[in-house]
Symmetry: C2
Subunit: 349 residues, 2 copies
């Protein structure tokens, strides 16, 4: 296994990003979508911010209010000593295992690079939560290029659940909201870069509420907006590196042996690693191979010490000369990159 | 309020239905889909069966195995004294609040009536679980008639979750599986009987896993197979008769004031009652009115004493002369019917 992490890692850190408001600070810049625009590498950054706090006994939870004539950020203060409230997970506040608020709110920003390692972040912020389904933030974008249009799938989070939204851009300057393409609870959606037998394909990751586990499903669409023919594709594996939850990361990569899908898996210790699936080129509903072991595990300090957990979590990659350049969120806090020869990923099958 | 329950209630009971196998017994016949075929009233019955048991210390859980060359029923025996297994809900076996097996498996049967009160059940069983997504059974059908075709939406249950499937028929003799139209966890899907501005519409009820509550969403489709534009429509209401979960029941009924949607709501005591929503005739994504109080609550003995809970749960209704004939499952065990003048439902708004 010869994963080469970039020497410059982490490529983008919290300190590289200006908060969007004076009364907020950036707690994480991570899980970026990846695309090529001309010769440049584009990262669509997930920037998570929290309200500045002066009181250690309270937790502030931000959300957007779209019921007003003009949308406004609202911040709730929750008392750490309030009975029944659970603050043990730094990402949110829970009552009876149900999340009632997030401690941060995310939006997207664009970063551009000529060499794939040094990024400049756009000053303008043009991709903020925009409707009620996004009131708690937008997260974890994936970008698929089809006929010159960049299709961005991402998690839209609100008190009504985590759904999947689709937006488009041609220049990463103007973004257009298209639709909510999958209802809650769903995330980790990647669109295939071409039609197969006249249909668009997507992988997604429903999280069932009572029966079932967080597994990867496959679906088809005539138009990228309306989705059907949902089928179970691949599930968590007991006693494996991907035993607790899985989800597709990068857009499927066409290889001569099949569609290569990089995906994350979490184990019982909530350690997130990256492995791969190989799908039939003519029928992505058929799994041909799957990583016995991950090709990337959280090992470096920036991957194990951050906002949350020991995490490598990719939302995008680029292939050149049989080598994958993969970008990933590290410990829900910063962004790193690595290069992996395709054959080394195939060696995990 | 003048709900008239049929004198003949329950219209269909467990004893009216022959089990599909000698080694099974019927535990419930309930939650039927409703349609008119010529002058006849059709009920598509959900028949739930359990394996016959001789050992009081074990619980038998049935499921279909579709991985064999020909599908076969398999029955697992679980020891009531096994640590970690939770048998407190008669409907299933749980580990840590996750259902690992059902104690019954459901299929559909057709019943026909000339007067809407006395039903004959077809001898032939033509609508059984048919694929892996249905391995734990098929449940709670709703029937929408569009251009002479009956579209049946129902819950497909398996170890991979509760998804929504679509089947069609023109005669209730031959049924055709169309597709899985919504991934887990989702149920309570009703299709509108006509297109609106060129789009098909559906109501559905995702059950989010971590954020959100079991609420009703609305979506559109160009072809009834692929669904998108998912939007939150109406949620549970604290301290109300519908505080814990809700879901559309009968196919939306066109009235001069808007689309009338009969829906079930469960309160904190898991009592299921029936109320209604009124939706904008041109934009079903807009709620115009909602029942302050249910128009039907479980009160009769067959509604309060059955397989599970105090439940009235409708999957279908017919409108004639400003009166609704509603059929409903009673206590997850038998089928009842009632008549309600439209104006009495509007009085609950």
């Amino acid at each position: 296994m010869s994963v080469m992490r970039y020497r410059e890692n982490p490529l983008i850190s919290v300190n590289d990003v200006e908060p969007s408001r004076d009364d907020f600070h950036v707690v994480g810049v991570f899980n970026p979508g990846v695309a090529k625009l001309g010769n440049q590498t584009i990262l669509l950054l997930r920037v998570a911010e929290s309200p500045n706090s002066v009181n250690r006994n309270s937790v502030l939870t931000p959300s957007m209010n779209f019921d007003l004539s003009s949308p406004a950020m609202t911040v709730r203060s929750l008392d750490r000593n309030e009975p029944g409230l659970d603050f043990s997970d730094s990402r949110g506040v829970f009552i009876d295992n149900r999340m009632i608020a997030l401690t941060s709110i995310s939006h997207f920003r664009v970063a551009r690079s000529d060499d794939g390692r040094h990024f400049e972040i756009d000053d303008n912020i043009r991709f903020l939560p925009q409707n009620r389904a996004e009131a708690w933030g937008i997260e974890d974008p994936r970008i698929t290029t089809i006929n010159g249009v960049y299709y961005i799938t991402y998690s839209a989070v609100s008190e009504n659940g985590v759904s999947v939204a689709l937006a488009t851009t041609t220049d990463f300057t103007e973004f257009k909201r298209e639709s909510c393409i999958l209802p809650p609870t769903n995330k980790d959606v990647v669109l295939f870069p071409e039609t197969i037998h006249g249909q668009y394909y997507a992988l997604h990751r429903p999280a069932p509420s009572d029966i079932g586990t967080p597994d990867i499903w496959v679906s088809t669409s005539p138009d990228l907006i309306h989705w059907g023919n949902h089928r179970y594709l691949a599930g968590v594996r007991e006693d494996s590196w991907d035993s607790q939850r899985i989800g597709a990361g990068a857009v499927p990569i066409r290889t001569k042996d099949g569609w290569l899908v990089l995906y994350h898996g979490a184990n019982r210790e909530n350690q997130y690693s990256m492995g791969a699936l190989l799908l039939d080129i003519d029928n992505p509903g058929r799994v041909m191979a799957r990583s016995r072991v991950p090709f990337l595990k959280p090992e470096e300090s920036y991957e194990t010490n951050g906002f949350w957990g020991a995490v490598v979590f990719s939302c995008g990659a680029i292939v050149e000369d049989d080598t994958i350049q993969m970008y990933y969120g590290a410990a829900d806090q910063s962004i790193a990159g690595c290069e992996v020869p395709l054959k080394d990923i195939f060696d995990t099958f």
